[in-house]
């Protein structure tokens, strides 16, 4: 087996009394697309900064590309591509110049930067914008430019911190398509997201973190198998009657969840459960049988209460 490109053991980060990352363990083999999922404040971005060698860990072991970030920050960063949560393109430079200037940070000769910049503009579907001002780009274009910039040094690991937050569906799908191509080429991807569909689309393996700890780990389908049922039945009886109906349905399935607006029944065969609900003489105003998703896993593991 090939050595992992990232290995964390007991990785911990504390800010004063607050523990942002609480002794997590994970390994990422080369070529894998690895997702860190978790609600806001779960410690995802802190973990990303430690891997990116811009934040020192408080305790534990961390090895990135076989090196310790504490002592070999520049070495590690020279083989990473980083797409930050907030764009930090230089708005005073034009689109292509942003790529060239960034390539120079890695000591890449100007002529090589220029060639790569043109290739990457093609990859990011921004050829026509090469001489545009960054401020004139749409949000999706800026993200693609940021990704292109992160690829200028031909990184071994591409790190993306919430890459599609704030983008419209069309822009997200274009971005996913580009990331999927990178994945096919064998680039190791490490991404954080709180969009479950994004994680299902892009990640081979996922770690769900909450309050600085790992709650679950596995491929999207394995997580669904382990933490949810194959199907979910969503029933609405009206907000006053949901709880009463749930009591009557208690024996039908292993797990029932009562939400303010609907009741969820976790089942292997949703249609069969729905039939038995009707047999009980209950008549929901709406009913829906759907497959379990990563979102069900996520909400089960990290809870439904709002974290703000």
């Amino acid at each position: 087996m090939t050595a992992p490109v990232i290995a964390a053991h007991g990785l911990t980060k504390r800010f004063g009394d607050f523990t942002a990352v609480d002794g997590i363990d994970f390994e990422v083999p080369p070529g894998e697309s690895f997702g860190l999922l978790g609600p806001n404040g779960a410690g995802k971005s802190t973990t990303m900064r430690m891997i990116g060698a811009v934040s020192q860990r408080t305790a534990g072991d961390l090895s990135v590309l076989g090196l310790d970030p504490d002592s070999h920050g520049p070495e590690i960063r020279s083989l990473l591509g980083v797409v930050p949560q907030e764009d930090n393109l230089d708005t005073e430079l034009r689109v292509r110049d942003n790529l060239i200037v960034y390539g120079r940070y890695f000591g890449i000769p100007r002529s090589v930067c220029a060639t790569r910049a043109d290739e990457l503009l093609g990859f990011a579907q921004l050829e026509e914008k090469r001489n545009a001002k960054v401020d004139d780009l749409s949000g999706g274009m800026k993200r693609r430019l940021t990704i292109a910039r992160a690829l200028i040094n031909e990184p071994r690991i591409l790190m993306l911190d919430e890459p599609t937050t704030g983008l419209d569906p069309q822009a997200r799908h274009v971005l996913w398509d580009r990331l999927f191509r990178l994945k096919e080429r064998g680039t190791t991807l490490v991404l954080t997201t709180h969009y479950m569909d994004e994680a299902e689309q892009l990640c081979d393996r996922i770690v769900v973190v909450d309050k600085g700890r790992i709650m679950a780990e596995g491929s999207p389908s394995a997580l669904i198998r382990q933490y949810s049922t194959r199907e979910v039945v969503e029933l609405r009886f009206g907000s006053e009657r949901n709880a009463d109906a749930a009591v009557q349905m208690a024996g039908l399935v292993e797990r029932i969840e009562v939400l303010p607006d609907r009741v969820l029944l976790y089942a292997e065969d949703g249609e069969a459960v729905l039939e038995r609900v009707t047999d009980l003489g209950l008549h929901p105003t709406t009913s829906l049988v759907r497959r379990s998703s990563l979102e069900d896993v996520f909400l089960r593991l990290t809870g439904r209460s709002l974290i703000e």
Binding site: G66, G73, L93, R104, F106
Partner: protein, 278 residues
Amino acid sequence: MTATLPEVATAAAARPRRFGAWYIAEHQLRGMKAYGWTIVVGSVGNPLLYLLGIGLGLAAFLDQPIASGADGLVDYVWFVAPALLATAAVTVAMDEFTFVIMAGFKWRRIFWGMNASPIAPPQIAAGLVISVVLRMLFTCTVYYLLILAFGAVGDPLTGALMPLVGVLGGLAFGLPLMAFSAGLTEDKGQFALVNRFIFTPLFLFSGTFFPLATLPTWLQWIGWISPIWHASEIGRALSYGSPPDAWPVGWHLAILVVLAVVGWVLARRMFVRRLRAG
């Protein structure tokens, strides 16, 4: 046998480790192109306005010289020119070490992009300083050529060192300012205050338009701590020699160097602290 990942990484980081600051400077200079026209027009127009206004205007009202050099009394425009040149460098510092720093951390956030590359925070700070030094050198050289054209330099040969002195004065003012700006997380008008209550008094009370000794003693301390005064006095010594009662040039130099070095140490520390926090 193919190289291991750590070997590849070590090779890849060799150039950024050595030249990182220059890559940052290269970026900043490209960025300055965006307002390059302002820099050039300012560098030429500003001295022209001052020299015309003071050399032809204000000097006409003075019926006797107010300052003297090694060989006695000197023309008023000779006296003012080195101070104007030093002020030009400090003005560049006012531009480049305030809003540019705030923008890099907060508004444009480009320092965070630099930070994710192999370049380390002290190199980022150094690269910014290099680019500003080059801009100051450009401005001061243009200034020097213009005051030369106006016949406002006693000895053009030693006077030719004036742009370097100007840059040193600019750094003695600018590097502590850079440290201050790097520590700010929000702009609540602090830069306007710096401009009004630090830069302007230093400009007016630094023996710029009249010898510092003509001020009441209780105001002279402003000059003593002012990079503009120290740089001006060195410039004057280079242009027409110091009068016997003047401070030794070595003193002025030493004070400027100390201010610049202390400013640099603090600025560097602020950059590391800010970019490596969290």
